[in-house]
């Protein structure tokens, strides 16, 4: 049964008329044409499809649209502002923390969720938080370094803001 489901996508109100039982991944990719969120395994094992829902990382292939009602969804398309990369995106690029790039959106959003909870994670905490996200190109070490660097950059930004 179709229903109108409303939520915020990258800060904008959207309404989708479809079955609320469908998984968010497919609604994002097909109905809303936000293809930055990728399909990886369809069963919640690889983390490639990770998005943030109200600040929490969720596997969008296992997240029914109905649960997004009234919530705020952040995908990779919503991370940069006015053409400026988010410090996490910049750090991934600077540290070569990607090769084929397919797992990158999910990896960045999982890391974003971590930094919201824990702004200054250790390497072990980063690895632990990202354990469920697979990268077949083997960029794990560089991803950890990138998240550490982004955490530092964000901290500096906060300091910068406070002293201004």
């Amino acid at each position: 049964m179709n229903k109108s489901v409303r939520f915020q996508l990258n800060g904008r109100e959207v309404a989708v008329e479809t079955s609320p039982e469908r998984m968010l991944l497919w609604v994002l990719r097909t109905d809303l044409e936000h293809t930055g969120t990728k399909y990886g395994c369809g069963e919640g094992y690889c983390g490639v499809c990770t998005v943030l829902v109200d600040g929490r990382p969720e596997r969008s292939c296992q997240f029914p649209l109905a649960k997004a009602e009234g919530k705020s969804v952040l995908t990779i398309e919503g991370l940069s502002r006015g053409g400026r990369l988010h410090p996490l995106q910049q750090a991934f690029a600077d540290h070569g923390a990607l090769q084929c790039g397919y797992c990158t959106p999910g990896m960045i959003l999982r890391a974003y969720g971590l930094l919201l909870r824990k702004p200054d994670p250790t390497e072990a905490e980063i690895a632990d938080a990202l354990e469920g996200n697979l990268c077949r190109c083997g960029s794990y070490g560089r991803i950890i370094a990138a998240v550490r660097a982004a955490a530092q950059a964000l901290k500096m930004k906060v300091v910068d803001h406070e002293t201004r």
């Binding site: 097909t30 990728k38 690889c46 995908t75 910049q90 990607l98 797992c103 632990d128 794990y140």
Partner: protein, 730 residues
């Protein structure tokens, strides 16, 4: 078959650049030759393959290219440089390294280079992107073409500026007078309004490596921005108006034939279209998830597969199945070697099937309009796909345009792509554009696995502990890297079977097999380098000293020395629970020496790789950062086939269909990785995408032996196998 000459079918003089956003907008296509279409500018036509590539240091005739000029380079009226290449970008980084080679030779900023990749209408024929060949075979002739273009630009500038060519130099996309740098003219001004076509026939002088300012410097990936913002398009992201998504009925096992199918329930589902063409039964829908949902309503019966093979009996089968044998190398006499030997070491080694498990499953979109087909595919071989689709649709190949957006890993698994033909068939049947994107379970089941294989090795040592005998047979692995790097007077290496693809019409494997990153080599090196360790032990020498005592190749000795200097030269000697290992390879001209430290939990049989040092000589390195990324990726991927990755199967059915049971490396596995790039700028660039993965099984096996005194003869070295081996040892 002679490949079709590249035809350009865009209607106007605008051609589409390799566009990470992947605009799929329609263009009216008509046939035109490249040179007509390329419009104004300076075009250099050159040949990749025989000839110049051979002169540059690559083995002659091994690039897989036709003989006629088949590659283009353009300096446009705006001064931008464009490389047209049939190669594709799947993470290996040539989108950056090839552009760096052009920027270097032409003296333009890296940002002024555009890469047009894997588009059969715009790019010259290319056999495919595999074998770590892009930088090695495509790079050098492209660099010569760039040098030729630069020479022509300098010639034009000489006339324009009234300065002799000897008095001119190039920088930042302009030619200037050395004595008066203010006197200069931009490439754009030299080329603008003209049309200059040259064919590269002589070898122009190129810049010496010592003068390189771009090439050889660590450089961030040029595609990073598109990939961190989600703008980068993969095949599954391409949209057309009216696009339908397909979900395809699959047999439960390989070799299971469709007996009957009832699509009546599925046919009633709203918005769904069910089509059947022989064994191809598919549901098409405007939403991919709903297509899959409706497919579940299709009732089908299959005959059981006749395959009786499984993981337990596969090795006996592989040894027994009739197979052609190829002599890979033979020198001296095995009888003579056996006479000289005072110690003989014999063992067999085994490797199970392994999946590619690319991050991005196979996907393709096909749109047919009139007698033209446009295809976007996740493929390593766009020109092969073009031929397959032309055949499927009954069109001339020139009417089929295959375009390759970013590809999310390949590793050899995307040389073949059944999804492309499926999408073409369904597009023809429905009259609509169709996307086929394999679900992960389809990806595992339809993969062309690394073949299971068997190795029998007999070696002999003389009284001075020199290897005097090497009798090596592999069954179904393929011959690559089966030739030992050591000095052995009496040796013979035989390779049985049709290689990693199983050969023509062979019923060796219960499912498809094919190239898997470093094909053949991974398991040949596992057998060879494990056996060398056995020999070292019999000789009473440590694994490093024994290798060096049997190795005179100066280049390899330098690489081994670099690894040992970084890692340390001591071995633990069992059984301390921690151990060190070493393994070497010459992978198609790239030399690798890797050393490992592992920790083994004897109660659980679990192995943890703590540290990897990899020294690699790849010849001239174009992008050291890119090379390191590839090597780190090889090491990480190697942990998987070394320790856990194995495709379980029974009666034609693949039992591991997702990451819950098929265990690939993850964050918690990450060892300390130290990469040493051994400086060798005088050697032409060699391949880098595969070599370092090929030693990983062996180096882990050797370190496990050092840790617990157990020799693991089968890949992967899973906890169950380690526990069993410990029990056998008693």
């Amino acid at each position: 078959m002679k490949p079709a000459k590249p035809k350009l079918r865009n209607g106007d003089d605008e051609y589409t650049m390799f566009d990470p956003r992947g605009r799929a907008g329609g263009v009216s296509l008509e046939r035109r030759e490249f040179l007509k279409l390329a419009g104004g500018g300076l075009i250099v036509v050159f040949t990749v393959g025989e000839g110049l590539a051979g002169q540059e240091g690559g083995p002659r005739g091994s690039g897989g290219y036709p003989d006629d000029p088949n590659a283009y380079l353009k300096v446009g009226p705006d001064g931008r440089v464009t490389c047209f290449t049939g190669k594709i970008e799947m993470g290996q980084g040539i989108v950056t390294s090839l552009a760096m080679m052009l920027a270097e030779e032409l003296d333009v900023p890296l940002a002024s280079v555009d890469m047009v990749m894997g588009d059969t209408s715009l790019c010259p024929y290319d056999a495919g992107t595999f074998g770590s060949r892009s930088t090695k075979y495509f790079g050098p002739p492209m660099r010569l073409a760039a040098a030729e273009a630069r020479g022509i630009l300098v010639g034009l500038a000489a006339a324009r500026l009234g300065v002799a060519e000897e008095g001119l130099a190039t920088k930042d996309g302009a030619v200037y007078a050395i004595k008066n740098p203010m006197k200069k003219v931009a490439y754009a001004d030299l080329v603008g309004g003209r049309k200059i076509e040259v064919r590269l026939e002589k070898k122009p002088p190129i810049k010496p490596v010592a003068k390189h300012a771009v090439s050889g410097r660590p450089t961030p990936r040029t595609d990073a921005r598109a990939k961190v913002t989600g703008e980068a398009k993969f095949a599954g992201d391409i949209r057309f108006p009216g696009l339908l998504y397909a979900a395809i009925l699959r047999p439960p096992a390989h070799g299971a034939k469709l007996k009957s199918v009832d699509t009546s329930e599925a046919g009633k589902a709203a918005g769904a279209r069910v089509v059947r063409d022989g064994d191809l039964v598919a549901v098409l829908h405007e939403k991919p998830d709903l297509a899959a949902e409706v497919l579940a309503l299709v009732k089908a019966e299959f005959e059981p597969s006749s395959s009786t093979l499984d993981n337990a009996n596969i090795f006996d089968h592989i040894r027994q199945v009739p197979a052609r044998s190829d002599v890979v190398v033979e020198s001296g006499s095995l009888d003579e070697g056996a006479k000289l030997a005072v110690k003989t070491v014999e063992a067999s080694y085994y490797a199970q099937y392994v999946a590619h498990a690319p991050s991005e499953p196979h996907a393709a979109v096909v749109r047919i309009e009139g007698d033209q087909a446009e295809v976007w595919a996740s493929t390593q071989s766009p020109f092969r796909a073009q031929q397959e689709i032309a055949q499927t649709l009954g069109l001339p190949p020139a009417n089929v345009r295959v375009r390759t957006p970013f590809v999310g890993c390949g590793f050899g698994g995307k040389n073949q792509g059944g999804q492309i033909v499926e999408a073409a068939r369904l597009a023809k049947l429905t009259g609509r554009p169709v996307q086929v994107a394999w679900a992960r379970r389809e990806e595992f089941s339809n993969d062309t696995f690394r073949p299971a294989a068997v190795y029998d090795v007999r070696a002999g040592l003389d009284a001075a502990n020199r290897i005097v005998l090497w009798d090596y047979k592999n069954y179904q692995a393929g011959s690559r890297s089966s030739q030992p790097v050591y000095d052995i007077p009496h040796k013979r290496v035989l390779s049985f079977g049709g290689g990693w693809g199983g050969g023509e019409g062979a019923a060796v494997h219960p499912f498809g097999t094919g190239a898997w990153r470093g094909p053949g080599s991974n398991t040949n090196i596992f057998a060879t380098e494990s056996h060398i360790d056995l020999c070292a032990e019999r000789a009473g020498l440590d694994p490093l000293s024994f290798r060096l005592a049997n190795l005179t190749d100066a280049r390899m000795r330098k690489v081994v020395g670099a690894a040992a200097d970084q890692f340390g030269r001591s071995f633990a000697k069992a059984p301390t629970g921690r151990g060190y290992g070493i393994a070497l390879t010459d992978y198609l001209g790239t030399y690798v020496a890797t050393m490992a430290e592992v920790e083994v939990d004897k109660a659980a049989g679990a192995v943890r790789v703590l540290r990897i040092v990899c020294a690699q000589d790849t010849g001239e390195v174009i992008n050291p950062d890119g090379a390191r990324m590839q090597i780190e990726g090889c090491i990480t991927m190697g942990l998987g086939y070394g320790l856990t990755e194995e495709v379980r199967f029974k009666n034609g059915r693949v039992l591991d269909e997702n990451y819950d049971t098929y265990e690939v490396p993850r964050f918690s596995w990450l060892p300390k990785i130290e990469v040493v790039l051994v400086d060798d700028p005088d050697l032409a660039p060699q391949g880098c995408g595969e070599p370092a993965v090929t030693v990983m099984g062996a180096v882990i096996a050797n370190a496990i032996y050092d840790a617990i005194g157990v020799r693991m003869g089968t890949l992967p070295m899973s906890p169950a196998r380690i526990l069993a081996a410990l029990k056998d040892k008693g």
